[in-house]
């Protein structure tokens, strides 16, 4: 191979790489996505349980999670929103801890629900385009929460119009269907769930104890909403827009 051919080959590869990069950037711009800026609490433990390596447990890389791109204008819509639960009288903490914006893993920042299957439900106040859900169950000890299922709906009783956006209940213990997502070890990064722009007012998160004890814990749940065809709850209404009084969104 001549020297000229080598130079041509390198130049071609370089050009292709730059082209691909430009293409991906323009695609991100085309779809109107940007990196979602997340504020993480400080880590509370180093290391993980010994040699956990099983088929239905997410591989532990020890590396930080990569960036998450969400549609432009996505913002936190769950802060201070009301929370319901299957255990309305928790022994430790308050239900409003789930959406109070405090994510520390220390004592005094989590709510403890009773043993076995339990859920919490966040009411966003209006139907919202959901772009990301970030969950911290308990991150001061390496543990795995069982049968984590995240569902969204416009029905507060979750009877109709229910969409499951995360489910690692691999044997249908909860009766909400067999989940294909893997179980994972809790860390300060929380679990990021991509609801892929589904629209809903209520978010329900289920769990069924954990590998350390029977209890269910929540430090914080953050729901990030996007603009889509609706508005953020609490946004001022645009002038002259017909309003659906049930959900406070612009009717199409």
């Amino acid at each position: 191979m001549t020297r000229k051919a080598i130079i041509y080959a390198i130049a071609s590869v370089f050009t292709i790489l730059i082209g691909l990069n430009t293409l991906s950037l323009s695609q991100a711009q085309d779809t109107g996505k940007e990196e979602l800026k997340l504020q993480l609490p400080k880590p509370m433990f180093i290391g993980t349980p010994r040699n956990i390596k099983t088929a239905n447990l997410e591989v532990i890389t020890g590396k930080p999670r990569g960036p998450f791109f969400a549609p432009k204008g996505t913002k936190l819509v769950s802060l201070k929103k009301p929370v319901l639960s299957s255990d309305m009288q928790p022994v430790i903490g308050e239900l409003n801890f789930v959406t109070d914006g405090e994510k520390s893993g220390e004592d005094g920042y989590f709510v403890e629900l009773g043993p076995g299957k339990q859920w919490v439900q966040i009411d966003l106040g209006a139907e919202t385009v959901l772009n990301a859900i970030l969950i911290w169950h308990y991150h001061s000890q390496a543990r795995v929460y069982r049968d984590v299922v995240v569902q969204v709906s416009n029905d507060k009783d979750f009877v109709t119009g229910v969409t499951t956006v995360f489910n690692n209940d691999h044997d249908n213990t909860t009766g909400l269907g067999i989940g294909k997502d893997k179980e994972y070890i809790e860390t300060n990064e929380g679990r990021l769930v991509d609801p892929k722009g589904v629209k809903a007012r209520y978010i329900r998160l289920c769990s069924n104890g954990n590998t350390s004890n029977d209890m269910n814990h929540y430090i914080e749940v953050e729901v990030y909403g996007g603009r889509g065809p609706g508005l953020y709850p609490g946004d001022p209404l645009p002038p002259y827009s017909p309003v659906n009084t049930n959900h406070g969104r612009v009717a199409s």
């Binding site: 349980p49 088929a55 989590f110 390496a142 543990r143 249908n172 179980e183 590998t211």
Partner: protein, 510 residues
């Protein structure tokens, strides 16, 4: 306090103790120590075999005392035993401890005994380990029996109390090797009490010592009792010699504590204040009342209170100085604190004469006891396996019960049912309590290392510890569904279920 009122109130205290100890005995998964004892007892139950092991497992009393309970419950085999059957024994002795306090009524007085009974009944430490199939609660019962008998003898020397003290001493020795610490603490306390009396009365001791004939009688009863147990009721005379040889192993264990090494203040810390994961635990009320008991010993110079104070301090010091510590080891000296707490509380009411002060003190005590009872409830019924509970120690996680239930569920679907072949490949640290949980399965094999070839083709269910799962996991990946379960905090087990059985299980579930 008149006799009727005392009787009625004592009965209420006793009922409280039963309520905190009796219900839900199967709630907590078997601790690996309990499981180990249970399987050892199963051998005695089924085959009548027991050999004292000088290296481990403590004395034989626990196993032999469980026999009548298993017979009464019509459980003739290990497989038929339940957690509730076994844990009924410590419940009996846990409640029995409160009844034993009646021995001290003559010297302590009714109010003090009633209040001590209330402390013992509501104490989270006492109630928690009264539901635990290990030696501790029967050991504390025998210790209290020994202390009570000795004291009664010294007050009224006679062969009856001498025999009783010998019997309790023999049973203590046949229960746990730490009995020697209690013997030393009791002896030390007696000497110091005598010395204190002499000093006070100018060289004249108020209580008589033990008469030589009675001492020999008590010693003979103790030796015969212990020898019968250690020799497996004469079937294994070597057990008697082994019981003495065991101290070599236990002295070594006490010094080189490893995982169980804790600082000297460990026990006092556990009892005073433990805060973990949003939960706060404290039995400081009992300690505070016991301090008042110590004060009354100094001020009133009551001989029993002085003796109990010396005993408690000596036993606490001895147990605290041994590097090897487990939370249940605090019970023998904590029993002393409880007796002193009763005396202390009664002392306060005795000293405070005006009703206007007695009422708020009484209310404070009611609140304190209510808090103690609430903690007991939480410790036994809600946080029974939670590492945030200060008395939970290397406890099997409730998640482990899911593994057991899963094995039961797939076995029910397999044509072999209880003859289902199960292979357990775990290190010794991760094996227990599996032999207890899988006791109903006839074909369970245990290995501590992964086999050279996979050798699992014929096996529907495999259980592996994490290090072994890392080795055999790739071999089983295509043929088995893998699940993991928490055994203890940060210790997991992997359960492999062959795909055909798993599919049947899921289909059946749907």
């Amino acid at each position: 306090m008149n006799k009727t009122a005392f009787g009625g109130l004592f009965l209420i205290v006793l009922c409280g103790a039963v309520l905190l100890r009796g219900p839900g005995l199967g709630l907590r998964p078997m601790h690996h120590d309990e499981a180990n004892q249970a399987v050892k007892f199963g051998l005695l139950l089924e085959k009548g075999e027991y050999r004292y092991d000088p290296a481990d497992h403590h004395g034989p009393a626990l196993y032999y005392l469980t026999l009548p309970i298993a017979w009464a419950a019509a459980k003739p085999t290990l497989a038929s035993l339940e957690e509730t059957t076994l844990r009924f024994l410590p419940v009996l002795f846990g409640v029995g401890i409160i009844l034993l306090l009646l021995v001290f009524v003559k010297d302590m007085g009714r109010p003090a005994v009633l209040l001590a009974g209330l402390c013992a009944s509501l104490s989270p430490a006492f109630s928690y380990y009264s539901r635990f199939y290990i030696q501790e609660m029967i050991f504390v019962f025998f210790c209290l029996g020994f202390i009570g008998s000795i004291w009664r003898y010294l007050k009224r020397p006679g062969p009856g109390w001498a025999i009783a003290s010998g019997l309790f001493a023999g049973l203590m020795y046949a229960t746990k090797e730490t009995s020697v610490i209690i013997f030393a603490a009791v002896a030390g306390a007696l000497v110091l009490t005598r010395f204190a009396q002499k000093k006070r009365s100018g060289g004249q001791a108020a209580t008589a010592g033990m008469r030589p004939a009675h001492f020999i009688l008590a010693l003979a009863v103790a030796i015969v009792t212990a020898a019968l147990f250690f020799s497996s009721f004469l079937a294994n005379p070597k057990g008697i010699v082994d019981s003495v040889a065991a101290f070599q192993a236990y002295f070594a264990k006490g010094g080189a504590a490893g995982f169980h090494a804790h600082p000297w203040w460990y026990y006092l810390g556990l009892l005073t204040h433990v805060s973990s994961g949003g939960l706060v635990w404290s039995e400081a009320l009992v300690l505070a009342l016991a301090c008042l008991g110590l004060l009354s010993a100094v001020l009133k110079r009551d001989r029993l209170t002085v003796f109990l104070s010396f005993y408690t301090i000596l036993a606490l010091t001895a147990f605290s100085l041994i590097p090897y510590k487990t939370p249940w080891n605090l019970l023998p000296f904590y029993a002393g604190f409880i007796l002193l707490a009763g005396t202390g509380a009664a002392f306060v009411f005795e000293r405070v004469r005006r009703r206007i002060f007695k009422i708020p003190i009484g209310l404070l005590l009611v609140l304190g006891f209510a808090h103690l009872g609430w903690q007991s409830y939480q410790a036994n019924f809600r946080y029974h396996s939670d590492p945030r509970n200060p008395y939970v120690y290397a406890q099997t996680s409730p998640d482990y019960l899911r593994l057991v239930r899963r094995v039961d569920a797939v076995a029910a679907l397999h044509p072999d049912h209880e003859r289902l072949l199960i292979k357990v490949v775990c290190g010794p640290y991760e094996t227990w309590p599996l032999p207890w949980s899988l006791r109903r399965y006839e074909r369970v094999g245990y290995w501590t290392e992964a086999p050279a070839s996979d050798g699992f083709e014929d096996t529907p269910v495999v259980i592996a510890s994490p290090d072994i799962a890392a080795k055999i996991g790739p071999l089983l990946a295509d043929k088995f569904q893998a699940e993991f379960y928490g055994l203890r905090p940060d210790v997991l087990l992997t359960l492999y279920i062959r795909n055909d059985l798993w599919d049947r299980f899921i289909k059946n579930k749907d």
